[in-house]
């Protein structure tokens, strides 16, 4: 192993996205909580797109959650989907797979490997998702009350409504746009045409939220393949070069921070050059959260927000953040965008946030 003396990072090792595949976003998969049934065809598709096979992959990294599955070590069975023999160089985060992609991005930048495959999966339908997620809160003073994830988001939504940071109409516009865009996404779970007026006529289901303000419960999996820049050019004609990834976390104490802003997203965005992006895929499971994120990242009217329909069209937990990166990369690879931003979130009320910026590799 030889080491760099100067500490400079060669451009040759900068990772790029060369492939992205995802399973259909469905309300309930017949498959198991270890994700194998969703992963096997998705992996096959990613390999077919790139012309790579498992022996070409230098590092594997995944994201998933035991609590989604109700099983300790649930990610171990997922490894069966890979065919991990001969043994593989592999790791796992108990977080959305966007953070697994971060770990893989770092690995490529050490120069140790030049390709990585990242996957995420989750069967949210197995348990009562909004109840399970309450276990993400403080185990002593909050979780014993079982505050479900929708109620917490609704508290955040009201703070913005009553302080004038956003309106019900602003929220409904996010939903209307997302559902309309999702009609062009064959893998979306929800899509359709609805006017803002119609949406606002619907009843409140979690005052102040309506059904359209809340992402659906979705089972799904996604796969992203990364390659170091000089390798990427051999794999696809127009790789999406990752120019930077930053992530930060906010305090967990819901009553001690301004929930109408996202300091961690602001910090992550400030460390990157997010100006001039054409497209931004944002991981916003609630309509008001998209408004917070757009503000935190300074995304103006010229940016196309979540053209996939975003997670309001389908929110496969632990795979959704990775899929935002995949969707943004896909636009760049297809020539529909020159610079794209992708965002992923973790925890209640946008507690932790990751931002990635990609551009067409010249």
């Amino acid at each position: 192993m030889s080491y760099s003396e100067t500490g400079s990072r060669g451009g040759a090792t900068r990772p790029a996205v060369v492939g992205f595949a995802q399973s259909d976003c469905v309300r309930r998969t017949q498959g198991t909580t270890n994700g194998v049934e969703m992963l096997v065809p998705t992996l096959a598709e990613a390999f077919e797109q790139t012309g790579l096979s498992k022996s070409d992959i230098g590092f594997w990294c995944s994201g998933s959650s035991d609590y989604l599955a109700g099983r300790a070590f649930s990610f171990i069975s997922a490894v069966d989907a890979i065919g991990a023999f001969p043994p593989i160089n592999e790791s796992h985060v108990e977080m959305d797979a966007a953070w697994a992609l971060y770990e893989a991005w770092v690995k490529i930048r050490t120069g140790e490997v030049d390709t990585a495959l990242v996957y995420g999966f989750g069967k949210s339908s197995a348990g009562t998702l909004r109840r399970v997620l309450s276990l993400q809160t403080d185990p002593y003073t909050v979780a014993p009350l079982w505050p479900d994830s929708i109620s917490i988001a609704a508290l955040q939504a009201r703070l913005g409504l009553e302080s004038g940071r956003w309106s019900e109409k602003d929220m409904a516009e996010v939903a209307a746009r997302s559902l309309a865009d999702a009609r062009d996404n064959p893998q979306a779970q929800r899509s359709g045409e609805a006017s803002v007026a119609d949406l606002l006529d619907a009843p409140l289901t979690a005052d102040p939220l309506r059904a359209h303000d809340i992402a659906p419960i979705t089972d799904g999996a996604s796969v992203v393949i990364l390659a170091a820049a000089d390798r990427a050019r051999d794999i696809v004609s127009r790789p999406a070069l990752i120019t930077g990834i930053e992530h930060r976390v906010d305090s967990p104490v819901l009553g001690a921070r301004d929930l109408t802003r996202s300091p961690s997203t602001e910090m992550a965005g400030a460390s990157l050059d997010v100006g001039d992006v054409d497209v931004a895929e944002l991981h916003a499971p609630f309509t008001h959260q998209e408004l917070i994120l757009r503000d935190a990242l300074g995304l103006g009217d010229g940016v196309r927000i979540s053209p996939s329909g975003g997670v309001l069209a389908g929110n496969p937990m632990f795979s959704a953040g990775l899929a935002r990166i995949g969707e943004a990369a896909r636009r760049v690879m297809a020539g529909d965008a020159d610079r794209a931003l992708a965002h992923a979130t973790s925890g209640p009320a946008l507690q932790q946030n990751l931002v990635a910026v990609m551009e067409a590799q010249s």
């Binding site: 990072r9 035991d66 609590y67 990610f75 171990i76 770092v106 930048r109 993400q136 930060r248 976390v249």
Partner: protein, 386 residues
Amino acid sequence: MKQRAAVLGTGQTHHAAKRTDVSMAGLLREAIDRAMTDARVGWDDIDAVVIGKAPDLFEGVMMPELYLADALGATGKPLLRVHTAGSVGGSTSIVAASLVQSGEHRRVLTVAYEKQSESNAMWALSIPIPFNMPVGAGAGGYFAPHVRSYIRRSGAPEAVGAMVAAKDRRNGSLNPYAHLQQADLTVEQVQASQMLWDPIRYDETCPSSDGACAMVIGDEASGDAAADGVAWIHATSMRTEPTTFAGRDQVNPQAGRDAATQLWHDAGITDPLSEVDAAEIYVPFSWFEPMWLENLGFMPEGEGWKLTESGETALDGQLPVNPSGGVLCTNPIGASGMLRMSEAAKQVMGKAGDYQVDGARKAVGHAYGGGSQYFALWLVGAEKPE
């Protein structure tokens, strides 16, 4: 191109069956505060935090890095949570190292823990699954058949397991942080202890511990600036294989062999037994010492037990194995892998106190997890790697 990284400081808790004096955050901070003091850094010096632990079900907290963000000093910083089953403490250390080796950060705080007394480790490992026949008897019941296979394959004398146990527990008595400290435990006493999962006896079995371990990993400039020596990270490796497949070698897994092969190659080591001065390897049941000696390439296949039997894995032997007492003395599942990595670092930093291996310049840290399918290794040295 990989940049040099070093362990600047380490810290751990006083491990015990139940740390009823602290919350989860308090347990972590005990290890973190010690590590930061040892590394002579403050919160402003830390660029990122990487935390690792085993299944969330052990403590009943989903994604605890979220609740712990303030306690970890991670608020406003990058925070990652690694989970690779029992090897997690090792893989967490490696992920933290790669953040520095990639040039992404200058100094990273990494911590691993388990407060498994909040539930019951056996329960968490043996939750009945629908349609499955419940024959699982916890971790011991899972590994005991493979230990039997090793004994059959190698022809090792029965006493070898007891020799490892007595050695590790006596080593643990020199380690002020160890959970079990048995200065006078003899081979005969081990052999007389109750058989739990034949062929594994009570005294050959790791305890269930609450505990945490932390390290600060820094870049080359931080390592150069450190007043009293650091542990330079020479090489790291990780390998995974599936739990079950036709023809799988459960005793001498390919994944472990491959991880070791890469490690020695990257570290420029051609004869591990003579070039490595100390080994902290993951031995939760005594027989894993000879098994891992073979898997790691210290001894030829079938002969690992000879090194143990000859006494050469004792503190004053040719290759001291688990001078800290190892997992047999202390096993907070999520932390055990990082304890191995940090104890290896302490040896080459000369900070191992009463269990210091004289003149240790290179040491290996090793962790495994799942059904002997996840392996994480690192080699650290008192000098910079080439």
